[in-house]
């Protein structure tokens, strides 16, 4: 009992926040003066008063077990799910990438070393997919985030009906990838689609949105941009509303125009949020799958007849579930992991150098 007691005492002394401890003591005193029965008294204070009675003993232990173990119990479901369906598969994918595994096999097949990776290196479609993932990523995130910034800036004005505007620009977020892609395929149809009809009025005729590389990639990135611009705009808006008003007042006193205020006050103030959205969007862009798949319609996961918009994600699905080479597909997955780590490192460096520039 004594060691437990001492532990309880040190525990009650350890909280780094003295305010919290004071509050606890104050309430417990009030509780006693209310004349509440001793059994409802807090267990730690019981032991502090050197009253290790038999019922208090197991209560104390139970209480201490409760406070010590329950946090872990509460976070356990997340970590269990992540361990089983996230971490383990992530690592096991790396193991599979060194093997020859066929679709339908449940084991890891035969060891082939780095053959899967060298095969990728020699495969022109892999490089094509890598390039496409990069270009699609750039043209679907950069305009999207810039437009979102502009929209957030406009929504931050005092406006009539701004509640309506906010819901309206978020509406595409409620549409699924599949539904949006199916509708955009119709809009971008080279023969009868509305976009070519509209462009026809301006003298631009017959853009092949399906077979030419850049038009197809632009069409696909427009699906991504359409679905996510409003969402990001709302995130920026929330950050903008947290910018202290005196910053703007000071800037206005210095004679800064609205545009100048936007550039020199708003943007620097919400920089952390901008970084956050850049990271989230780049991660999203590296895993583009549904948009190019459904945009291709009947052609399946090759991403166009000439692989002109096949992403790494589609390439992985193609290798794994069409060709049936899960080992090869695993190698593609780990290349994606490598790319994500690289992007993360670059962004981290960028954040660091930015911070240093600001002198923080």
């Amino acid at each position: 009992m004594t060691p437990t007691c001492r532990a309880a005492r040190t525990l009650s002394r350890t909280p780094p926040n003295p305010y919290g401890k004071d509050a606890l003591v104050a309430t417990s005193v009030r509780a006693t003066s209310d004349g509440s029965p001793p059994s409802s008294r807090p267990a730690p204070s019981t032991s502090r008063r050197g009253d290790p009675g038999a019922p208090g003993g197991w209560r104390t232990r139970l209480y201490r077990f409760d406070t010590k173990a329950s946090p872990y119990a509460y976070i356990a479901p997340f970590f269990l799910v992540f361990a089983a369906f996230g971490l383990f598969p992530l690592i096991y994918t790396g193991w599979l990438s060194l093997h020859n595994v066929q679709l339908g096999e449940s084991g890891s097949g035969s060891w082939v070393g780095f053959d899967n990776y060298t095969n990728l290196w020699d495969n022109q479609f892999f490089w094509k997919a890598l390039r496409n993932t990069f270009t699609l990523g750039v043209i679907s995130t950069v305009p999207q985030l810039l437009m979102a910034l502009g929209l957030a800036h406009l929504l931050n004005f005092k406006l009539r009906g701004r509640g309506f505007f906010r819901v309206a620009i978020l509406a595409p977020y409620a549409t699924s990838i599949a539904a949006a892609a199916l509708v955009f395929v119709q809009l971008f149809n080279p023969d009868y689609g509305m976009i070519n009809q509209l462009l026809g009025h301006f003298g631009v005729d017959g853009i092949r949105w399906d077979s030419s590389k850049w038009p197809a990639q632009i069409a696909i990135s427009s699906i991504v941009t359409w679905r996510w611009t409003g969402y990001n705009a709302l995130i920026y808006l929330a950050a903008m509303q947290a910018v202290p008003a005196d910053l703007y007042e000071a800037a206005a006193l210095d004679g800064a125009s609205r545009w100048r205020q936007f550039i020199s006050v708003t943007i620097p103030s919400i920089r952390p949020t901008i970084f956050f959205t850049i990271i989230v969007s780049t991660i999203g862009a590296t895993q583009l799958f549904g948009e190019p798949l459904i945009y291709g319609g009947g052609v399946g996961p090759t991403g166009g007849t000439d692989h002109q918009y096949q992403t790494l994600s589609l390439y992985m699905y193609d290798k794994g579930w069409q060709v049936g080479q899960l080992g090869q597909a695993s190698a593609v997955a780990w290349v994606m992991l490598l790319i994500l780590l690289l992007i993360g490192a670059v962004q981290l460096l960028f954040v660091r150098s930015n911070r240093r520039k600001l002198g923080g």
């Binding site: 010590k68 946090p71 509460y74 997340f78 929209l151 509406a171 892609a181 199916l182 995130i235 579930w321």
Partner: protein
């Protein structure tokens, strides 16, 4: 402040619960944000953005109510037609939309419920309880948000093959029972909304931690739980990559069924395809029309502290 709240409150008893919330939001905006009046240019751009956002949705309704011939012969129709019912019948003939809708409801409902439950527990622990390794574990939670599904699907597929779950709903439910986004969302909310004194007072009164969860944490977390539930439901309903791999056209979710409709042969009925897209989106758009403002405020609330 009183001037602001007065008209809201007098507009009817039905709004009385919304009034303080609205007033608070205005107060915060007025105190912190920039409150310049928007000029005509701001309105012009916002109206354009609204049109671009809503037009594809509107045109979905238009195309879904025309025939294939109407759509493929320019000029493309811009007003709703009269073939909606016919197209709906064909959609139901081609794919088992009823099963797909039920499946999506089961999956998204289960995932939303369990995510909200587990994320609230974990978020509470990370926000208000002290335990060894808390900060490190929270960093792990945030880091897991960057792991895309592509990196895990191959072993997952092997697992569900071995378990005989291919084509069954548990294969898409189990991996998404709780996600890092939800944990982080609830942590951010509870860190601010739940006074530590309340937890400690309950503990002093002898409440064990499950009682504290039930009587203190859940009541305070309820608005955030509702928003998180909606966000997760939308996300899960629209989830595509893993369900597309794990499920088949025999027992699909709505998205998988849609991909089947869209990826058919070339002599496809475009009006029917768009009609199927409409059916898949309509439930969410209805939710959105009713609860759009809450979803908007949920997204912005979760973002502020990031």
């Amino acid at each position: 402040m009183a001037q602001l709240t007065e008209p809201v409150r007098s507009s009817g008893a039905r709004h009385s619960s919304a009034a303080p919330r609205r007033a608070r939001r205005r107060l915060r905006v007025g105190g912190a944000g920039k409150q310049q009046n928007g000029g005509p240019i701001a309105y012009a751009f916002l109206i354009i953005a609204t049109l671009v956002s809503l037009f594809p949705l509107y045109w979905t309704v238009v195309a879904a109510s025309h025939t294939d011939t109407d759509i493929v012969t320019p000029p493309t129709p811009l007003l709703p037609g009269s073939h909606l019912i016919d197209n709906l019948k064909i959609v139901w003939d081609q794919v088992d939309m009823t099963t797909a809708l039920i499946n999506s409801t089961i999956v998204a409902g289960t995932v939303a419920f369990s995510t909200v439950l587990f994320a609230t527990l974990a978020g509470f622990a990370f926000a208000k309880l002290e335990f060894r390794g808390r900060n490190a574990l929270l960093t792990v939670v945030v880091a897991t948000m960057t792991v895309p599904p592509q990196l895990t699907v191959i072993p997952l597929y092997q697992i569900i093959t071995k378990a005989g779950w291919v084509g069954h709903l548990q294969s898409v439910i189990l991996p998404s029972l709780v996600a890092a986004f939800g944990v982080f969302f609830m942590r951010q909310f509870l860190a601010e909304a739940l006074p530590i004194e309340l937890v400690e007072a309950a503990r002093v009164d002898g409440a064990h931690s499950l009682r504290i969860i039930w009587h203190v944490v859940f009541p305070i977390a309820r608005p955030a739980m509702a928003v998180l539930g909606m966000l997760v439901f939308v996300q899960s309903w629209n989830d595509f990559f893993w369900p597309f791999i794990a499920l088949s056209q025999q027992n699909p979710t709505v998205q998988v069924a849609l991909a089947g409709v869209g990826a058919g042969n070339h002599s496809i009925d475009h009006a029917v395809v768009v009609c199927a897209a409409l059916v898949s989106t309509l439930p969410l758009l209805l939710v959105f029309a009713v609860l759009g403002r809450q979803i908007v405020s949920g997204i912005t609330a979760g973002a502020v502290k990031s």
